[in-house]
Assembly symmetry: C2
Homo-oligomer: 118 residues x 2
DNA sequence: CGGGATCCGACTTGATACTG
DNA sequence: CAGTATCAAGTCGGATCCCG
């Protein structure tokens, strides 16, 4: 961590609008997908990577760390050789699921109206 | 409009996930704010610009056009000198408002948990 | 196995000046 | 008034390669 490369660094930001705050938390390219995978499962790093089509380790780690910092995701590591790390949603993290469902629901209607009526 | 500059061109994209689709529509930096302003008012270009703190004309136009293409915003122009253009939400556009409210609601809880519990 | 460190290109946004 | 045109800067995500 030298000149860092923080992406959505949600730390110490001020939000003029709470919608912005939410989007900065779930708006990462892979975050919705990751959250969705963790919805009802505890998953290891590699399992996550396999369920996500084409995510690079860099991105997976980065987005997981950010969501960890934001209190959505819990990281549990077992000090073994080889290491074993499990990711899961925190209680607070689970509160985003309905939000994701709402976003998905609207997205479906959006796609419909776009390709039927236009 | 020569070499084009399309940003979130939501045209002809394929979404593996409907959440992505939604975010591409409302995820622009100023879009939530613009939609919020239009929630119950019809506004002219300049009025919009004045209610948005620090948006450049370029961005305002771009995001409005995208939302117009996506069927959220209606643009009505009166061919006068000087010109008069009014922006408003379409019926479909109004369906995003509850979504924005949900996002805002969660954002508020997020900020609370972040600064109280940490 | 679960990452960290680098480097880079593409996309997104901003600042400003100008115009029908 | 309601935008365009242009140029510059910032941000995000991807590709590797390497390590404990």
């Amino acid at each position: 961590m030298t000149t860092e490369d923080k992406t959505n660094g949600t730390s110490d930001r001020e939000y003029s609008c709470p919608v912005e705050a939410t989007l900065s938390v779930i708006g990462g390219k892979w975050k919705p997908l990751i959250l969705w995978q963790l919805k009802e499962d505890v998953l290891r790093y590699n399992s996550l990577q396999q369920t996500l089509p084409g995510i690079s380790p860099r991105m997976l780690t980065k987005q997981l760390r950010e969501m960890e910092d934001d209190g959505l995701v819990k990281r549990k590591m077992y000090p073994q050789i080889p290491p074993r790390v499990e990711y899961s949603l925190t209680e607070f993290g689970k509160t985003v699921i309905p939000l994701l469902e709402a976003l998905a629901g609207w997205g479906i209607r959006y796609v419909e109206q776009k390709y039927n009526l236009k």
